[in-house]
Symmetry: none
Subunit: 180 residues, 4 copies
DNA sequence: CATGAATGAGGGTTCATTCAT
DNA sequence: TATGAATGAACCCTCATTCAT
């Protein structure tokens, strides 16, 4: 037997250690050497577990998305009325604002570095995961309503990223709640 | 001082020729050599007019923003009622969807390549230009309402970028119009 | 000592499985990991049986040479007259052209990757095996005649490798036969 | 104007400086960094003049072939009878043995590193240059005779490369002359 | 005996920028 | 003013070999 290491566990450990790095610096600015150094392994080891930088990124990104969704589902408990659920959403967004900004940034960044259709498809799938979770948890009837709300959330996050002086999520969501 | 005129004309010509390049390939994938070749000048000339790739980008980006806004103002004519103005917005967005997606992408892309505060500040300013133009033209009372609508527009564009299967702008704006 | 038997069998199995790999991809392009995978063993096992990639190659190469010679001797039966034997040679060469090209390629390839005198000496020895077998089987009197014929055969193989449009072995050998 | 350098002259200077390196170490063992160092330029400069290692090699190889042929033609003067011309060939081969061995080695080496059909085609073309020059200069009637002689010459060179103890060119050519 | 995880120097190549002309 | 040759650090990735298990 080789060094007593559970292959899948190691992969997971690397992925977990990677998210921050990608989130902080962006896809294009993460170097495999840098990642290896940060993780305390060699570049060879990184390539032992992942075929390429892109594969490393994709697995990390998907893993993160699933975790985000689980976490969101823990907060956006069903059953309450819509106003209540919007408040929960606000709480979640505010709590995880930095993280979500990072996710968005890194997604766009990845897209720019990989213009191939497969990369687009990968991101579309992952975006759908988030969108569906949001629509479901918010109990919004109809696809379009869910997608529009997702657009709004996406936009608020991006808006704040581009301009930190953008209004708080709570204020913007209040507009939505008032209309609803 | 005819020299100066030529000088400024050259600068402008370079900037105009640059937007497509940045939009198509992204900030990180534009090389100064490539840009020079595409523009039919030498790298030396590029550096004669602009101190760095970043300066080239900034001037190009700002110039584009001003043009976008002028164009939008031509379409989002004031005077009509809100529903009418939302229809005009829809028309503008649909017409310029690709361009606006590119602008968004390139902005985020630039941010990732330049994490310094000055870069953030530059983008925040430019974002404000767009936001204010939108609020004004739509005749939305109150900053927050304007900012929220801007978030929504931003989100729709980004949503479509991440997932081309996202609902059409018209459908999403219809949700907004129905609420209003 | 059944252990020893197994051991030697394993070595032989590895060597036999290796030739194709080296022939197909060339010395420089065979990786120990790739070889291990193809053979269905681990890199560790490879290194257990052979000290280095070079040793693996040498043993494989020599083993192959011996087999080639045995095979050639089966075809180039003595006793016939020279013209007859040249026809047999032609038959053998045509039959095994691809294999012989591969042997030649891999030999040169190995030489380039190991410029040390010991590597040259190893190849010189192996070349002598082929040359002597050829001279003997063809019944050529004198070393120089044998060596010259060997040069010619070598040249035909290399010629065809460099330029697949080179004349067929039969046509070239006909020139030789006509002179003889 | 940029640094006063004739582009084509520089290219030629690099190519000339490269041959020895490739000949000495083989295609696979020449690194662009190493080549740059040896030539006293930076890797960037190498890539300024040649798109890739392969292009550098090809141009160098073809240039060398043309020079070889010009040189051979200077020695293998026409007009003499065949025996005389074979003596001249012997003189040329002996004089340039090391060089020709190197050419052969590097050609095979290149083939192993670039298995693509275009690489084969390139080598086939270059081989044809040598073959035709030889046939013409030796005044050999018929394609097959020329090609066979080329095979023989190729074989002698390779033979000597594989086994330095192989008979001298003169002795082997004497066999040919005796037959003719 | 056998495994395969781990290493890290080194591979080809890119690119923002400088500067002699 | 304009040119483009030159730089060299840094990029992603490979691979022979080692060694803990």
């Amino acid at each position: 037997m080789p060094r007593v290491v559970d292959h899948e566990e190691q992969r997971a450990a690397i992925l977990d250690g990677c998210f921050d790095l990608f989130a902080r610096k962006g896809y294009g600015s993460v170097t495999m050497r840098g990642a290896a150094r940060e993780l305390g392994v060699s570049t060879g080891t990184l390539y032992h577990y992942f075929d390429s930088k892109e594969e490393l990124f994709r697995r990390m990104f998907e893993r993160n998305a699933r975790r985000d969704i689980v976490e969101a589902e823990g907060i956006l408990t069903e059953g309450d009325d819509l106003r209540m659920r919007l408040l929960k959403l606000e709480e979640y967004l505010e709590q995880r604002a930095d993280h979500l900004q990072a996710v968005l940034m890194v997604a766009v960044d990845y897209l720019r570095n990989h213009p191939e259709p497969t990369a687009r498809a990968f991101l579309a799938e992952t975006a759908a995961l988030y969108r569906e979770a949001l629509g479901e948890r918010l109990g919004l009837p109809g696809q379009i309503l869910g997608a529009s709300t997702f657009s709004f959330v996406l936009g608020m996050i991006l808006h704040r990223t581009l301009d930190p002086a953008a209004p708080a999520f709570s204020d913007q969501l209040a507009v939505l709640a008032a209309l609803a």
